[in-house]
């Protein structure tokens, strides 16, 4: 049982937190701009590299330099929206999806050009785990990621329900035409969607990069799981996306646990297929997800 918590549940929550933060942006962009943002994973990568670079210049704890990564990701997101997505806004959204596919490739090649294609670690060496109550061995990083994600989740909830901008975003997500009729500045809402989505993606990228290492395909490899998390939570439901991310993270890790006898449910090499199968099951049986999101 202790092993289960230490070796499966906590890592599951950790990767789940990464998925959660990425999925929020995807769900919001889906809800407000109405398209699947295929470049979101690579936005995470850019954010992660931003912090990595900052650490080279200011050698303190990477998490303290998170704002640098967020700033880089935000600038990148606003730039691609302005030059690549906005010109296609009046067309059927599939064209924007294709464009985002291209943006993903652009981000990835830029990452490979500026930071090289190999792995780069934030902090070399093995980190000793934190031991709680003499039984739980949790890596300090995992604890930090989970706690920070919870804080972000709570902040996000208050933002969406209490603040003017948050409500405006939910309004535009619900009914964009009515929002225009009510006089809301929809372009401003779009801008802030990118800002928030990119900032959270950067955080996710840093967390993922610190857990393993930074490499150009970091975000793209996680994209499928984040899409699945967004669908699981319900499209256009940011809080649902957080729940979805955590569930998928835990599912992925616990499916390799030796539940029956000595065999895991699924061979660890197929861990990333779990998210895909969850998504397929959702699309077949409950496309509106857990929290009744939009069906597009």
């Amino acid at each position: 049982m202790i092993d289960f918590i230490n070796l499966y549940l906590v890592p599951g929550l950790t990767i789940g937190s990464v998925y959660a933060l990425g999925a929020v942006g995807i769900s919001m962009i889906f809800g407000i701009l109405r398209f699947a943002h295929f470049a979101h994973g690579d936005l995470m990568t850019i954010g992660g590299y931003g912090v990595l670079t900052a650490v080279w210049f200011i050698p303190i704890h990477p998490l303290l330099l998170l704002p640098f990564g967020m700033a880089l990701a935000i600038v990148a997101a606003l730039a691609v929206d302005r030059f690549f997505y906005r010109p296609l806004r009046q067309l059927p959204t599939i064209y924007t999806v294709i464009a985002s596919f291209g943006v993903a490739l652009i981000f990835r090649s830029l990452a490979q050009l500026f930071w090289s294609s190999g792995n780069q670690v934030f902090v070399p060496g093995v980190r000793p785990p934190v031991v709680l109550f003499d039984t739980f061995r949790i890596s300090a990083l995992h604890a930090q990621v989970i706690i920070l994600t919870l804080i972000i989740a709570v902040a996000l909830h208050f933002f969406l329900t209490r603040s003017k901008l948050g409500r405006a975003m939910r309004a535009v997500s619900d009914e964009p035409e009515l929002a225009s009729v009510a006089g809301l500045d929809t372009e401003r809402v779009v801008r802030w969607t990118w800002v928030i989505g990119a900032a959270l993606a950067a955080a996710a990228g840093v967390f993922a990069g610190m857990d393993t290492s930074m490499h150009p395909n970091l975000g793209w490899n996680l994209l499928l799981a984040m899409f699945a998390a967004a669908v699981l939570g319900g499209i256009g439901k940011p809080m649902g996306a957080i729940a979805g991310g955590l569930i998928i993270g835990i599912a992925e890790e616990t499916v390799t646990y030796t539940w029956f006898g000595g065999e895991p449910l699924i061979s660890p090499s197929y861990k990333s297929a779990v998210a895909f199968f969850i998504m397929v099951a959702l699309l077949l049986f409950r496309p509106q997800g857990l929290f009744k999101g939009r069906l597009l």
Binding site: K164, A171, D174, E175, E177, L178, A179, A182, G183
Partner: protein, 239 residues
């Protein structure tokens, strides 16, 4: 007394085909003006063009003496115009209270709480539903939320697109009474209505639109008594 809203020679449509052509219309302050006509006459398009939701090809729209023809919708709300669309007129996942709140974003009132109180006094049924998502309400209640949202910006002119569409006969009476109350508070009303007879009964001025063009205009009573109008749109028998 010059008109609050003045529409002159307005032509508009989608993709090159005009739906309304050379339409003229004046709405006096504090009056209830109604636009009626057969299906496809362009009534909704007229309203949408006034509110810049559809682009006009030619003509002008003046509000309080100011030319608003080139302005965008978001700029019209702070000027004092609000609209209640026919369908999809509430934010379904937002609560009733949040729906009303959104109505203040484009034109923030001085005392938001006072405005809210004033609007809720018009729709007392909504008071105990403030925390409910608007999408869960009945058709009639949703219509009230939609109207409430539009009134939160304290408009001088309220545009309504078929406010009684899809509502039960009981709600018809309620809505028309509400409109009279709203007018009593100093709001000018311009609405499109399919229930022509009842609309004309509360209207100060009626405008009949046929085939995208002006057909006839007059006071509510005159139009109700007019033979040609009666036969075509009011079902024959006298009101």
């Amino acid at each position: 007394m010059s008109a609050l809203l003045s529409v002159a020679g307005l032509t508009a449509g989608y993709g090159g085909v005009p739906i309304i052509e050379d339409v003229n219309l004046d709405v006096a302050e504090h009056e209830i003006a109604v636009i009626i006509g057969p299906n496809g006459a362009g009534k909704s398009t007229l309203l949408k063009t006034v509110f810049a939701l559809t682009s006009r090809s030619s003509g002008a729209v003046t509000f309080s003496g100011r030319d608003i023809s080139g302005l965008r919708t978001a700029q019209l709300v702070p000027l004092g115009i609000s609209m209640v669309p026919q369908s999809r007129n509430v934010f379904p996942t937002l609560t009733v209270d949040e729906n009303l709140d959104v109505g203040t974003y484009a034109a923030p009132p001085g005392d938001k709480d006072a405005v809210r109180e004033s609007v809720l006094s018009l729709f007392p049924d909504l008071r105990d539903k403030l925390a409910q998502p608007a999408g869960e309400l009945s058709g009639g209640q949703r219509q009230m939320v939609a109207m409430g949202r539009a009134l939160m910006s304290e408009p001088k002119l309220l545009l309504l697109d078929e406010p009684t569409a899809g509502l039960s006969p009981a709600y018809l009476e309620i809505i028309f009474d509400l409109l009279l109350n709203i007018r009593k508070r100093g709001v000018t009303i311009l609405m499109v209505e399919q229930n022509a007879k009842q609309a004309l009964r509360i209207a100060d001025t009626g405008h009949v639109l046929v085939g995208g063009k002006n057909f006839v205009s007059g006071t509510g009573e005159t139009l109700l008594a007019d033979d040609s109008v009666r036969r075509s749109f009011l079902g024959g028998a006298s009101a």
